[in-house]
Amino acid sequence: MYFKLCLRKLKIIFAKQNSTIIYNILNNSEVKTLKNKKVSLFDFIQKQAAIGTWEYDIKLKTVQWSSQTKLIHEVPLDYEPTVELGLSFYRKGDSLNTISEAFTNCIEKHTDYDVEIQIITATGKYKWVRAIGTAIIENNECVKVQGLFQDIDEKTKNSKALAFKERQLSRTFETALVGMAIIDLKGNWIDVNKSFCNTFGYTKAEIQSLTFMDVTHPDDLEQDYKAMKAMLNGKVDHFEVEKRYLNKKRETIWTQLFVSIVRNSSGEARHFVAQINDLTEIKKSNHKVSQLLATTENQNKRLLNFAHIVSHNLRSHYGNLDMLLDIVKMDLPETTENEIFPLVEQAVSHLGETVANLNEVAAINIQKDLKTEPINLLKHFNTAFSSISALILESKTEITVDIDPKIVVKGVPAYLDSILLNFLTNAIKYKKPNEPAKIDINTNRDKEFVVLEIKDYGQGIDLKKYGDKLFGMYKTFHKHEDSRGIGLFITKNQVEAIGGKIEVESKVNEGTTFYIHLKTYE
C-alpha cells in the first residue's frame, strides 16, 4: 500500500514539480535529516524505494535514466541508454513482449502502463521490476514518455515462494490419503479434503453445514468435549484418540483422530486442524484374523481331542480284540487251525501297529512347549552310529563322516536319535541290490540352520512320481520286506517339531541326498 501511495504521489510530482506534497508522505524526522544534509529529496526517495526514473524524448530520440535506474540495471553511472539498448535488457518472451506492447501503446494510444516483468541485468542477473510509463501529451501528440523503474525482485520472489508454499500446502491438504479437516472453535467443519469426504460419504458442501458433534458416535462425544476443553484452556495443544464417527448412511466408522489447536501470534485460539485416518477396513480385517485364529484354535483343540480318541478309545478296542484272540487260542485251540484265524490275528496286529504309529505322530504334533536343548551334532551322531554298528558291519556299509565337532544344534535328543537312525537305516535298507551301501555325511551352515547332508548311492527314488508322497504316511516306494512307510513321515514330523525342515534330491539308480535343516543353537 505504501508503495502504491508513494508512486501515485510521485506521478503528481512529475507533473507539478512540487516537492511539498512529498513532504507529506515522509515523517518529520526524515524531513529534518533531509534538510540538514541537504540531500536531494528526489535522490533520497529513489534510493529508499529502489525506484529509478527515466524519460524518452520522442523528438530528440534521447533516453535518460536516473542513477537509480542505472543501478537497477547494474550499468555504470556514465552509461548512455537508447531505446534499443533499454529494450535489450528485458527477458525474451513474456517480459519483452509485454513491455514492447505497452511502450508502443503508450506512444501511439497515449495509454499509461504499470507492469511487473523481468529484466536481465548487465551482470546477467534475472531481476523482477515494476515498470511504469506515462505519455506526456502536447497538442494531442505524445512528445515524451516518462516513467518509473522499481526493483521488486526480492518482494516478488518472496511472494512467489509464499504462493508456491501455499499451493503445495493446499495440494497436500486436498490430496492427502488421510482425511484432513479444519474445524472452528464451535465445532463447525470449515474445510475438509477429498479423503475426508470419501470416508464420511458427505460432499464438502454437505459437511460444511454440520458440526463434528453431528457425525460423532454418541458414545464417543464425551471424550471429544473433554479434549476440546483441554485444548481451549491451553492445557494441551493436541490430542489423539481412536474414535467412532457415523457416515452419511449413519454407519459406524472407526478412525484414528489427531487434532491440534491453531493459535494466532498473540496466542488466541483460532481453529482446530484434524487428521482422521479411516480404520474401518483394518478393524474389519482384524476381526477376520481373530475369527480365523479362533477357528484354527478350535480345530487344533479338535485335533487334540482326535489324538486323544486315537490314543484311548481306538487302543482299548484293539487291546480287547488282541486279548480275545489270546483267549481263543487257549480256550478253543481247534478253532484256530484254519486259514482264517491267522489272517484275523494278522489284521489285529496291523491295527495295533497303526494305532501305535498314529499315536506317535499325534504325540509329536500336539506336544506344546517342547523342551529343546543344545546338542553336539557330531557326538550325537557317533552315539546313533554305534547303536547300529552291527548292522553297518554286517551290511559292509561304507560311511564317510565330515561333521564339524563345534556344531551345536537345538533339538530334542530322542527326536534327533530317531531322525539320524531313520536316515541311516533307510540308506542301508535301500542300497543297490548287488553292492554294499555307501553313505557320505556332510554339514553346511547358513545363518539360522545347520544343514546335515546325508547322501547315499542307493536305488534312489523317482521324485517326479513320488515326490509329493515321499513324506506321507504309509507310503512305500521299494519292494523291501521291512518297508513300513511310516519312518519318513515320523522323521519329518520330528524335524519340523524342533523347527527344522527336510529337502531331498534323488535320481533312480544313482542315489538320494537328504538335506536336514536343523536349528543352530544360540
Binding site: H312, R315, S316, N320, I327, D331
Partner: protein, 133 residues
C-alpha cells in the same frame, strides 16, 4: 507257586472284564474275583469291606477312563481309607500317553502302570511280584 486270594478289577469295559477273568482263570492267578464297573462303585463297596476287615482284595487292577468316578479320583479317595492289609494297585489302561504314565508315578500306592492288552505273561509277572512281597 502261590496264588492270590481275591483279585479286584475296576473297569467299565465288559469285554476287558470277560477277558481278564478268563486269563486269570487260565493262568491260575487267583481264587476269586471282585468286579466293579467304575470308581464310585468300587469305593462304596471296598469301604464297607475294609471296615469289617473281611474279604479284602490283595490286588486291584484299575482302569483310568471310567464314567462317574475315574481311576485318578478313585485313587484320591482310596488313599483316605485306612486299611490293615496291604493292597497292591496296578493301573491297567489302554492310554499310552506319557502324561498318564507320569501321573501314576505320583501315587505311592500304585505299583506299576500296565498298558492294555494284558497277556498271560503280564499276569504271571504280576503274580510273582505280589506273592513275593
Amino acid at each position: 507257586m502261590n496264588k492270590i486270594d481275591i483279585a479286584c478289577i475296576i473297569d467299565d469295559n465288559p469285554i476287558f472284564i470277560f477277558g481278564a477273568k478268563r486269563m486269570m482263570e487260565l493262568s491260575n492267578f487267583c481264587n476269586s474275583f471282585m468286579v466293579f464297573k467304575n470308581g464310585q462303585e468300587a469305593i462304596n463297596n471296598l469301604k464297607v469291606l475294609m471296615s469289617s476287615g473281611e474279604s479284602i482284595p490283595e490286588i486291584i487292577l484299575l482302569d483310568i477312563n471310567m464314567p462317574i468316578m475315574d481311576g485318578w479320583q478313585f485313587l484320591d479317595e482310596f488313599t483316605t481309607i485306612e486299611s490293615h492289609k496291604l493292597i497292591t494297585i496296578y493301573i491297567v489302561s489302554s492310554s499310552i500317553d506319557p502324561v498318564d504314565m507320569n501321573r501314576a508315578k505320583h501315587y505311592e500306592n500304585v505299583s506299576n502302570y500296565i498298558i492294555k492288552p494284558i497277556s498271560l505273561e503280564t499276569l504271571n509277572t504280576l503274580l510273582k511280584e505280589v506273592t513275593q512281597e
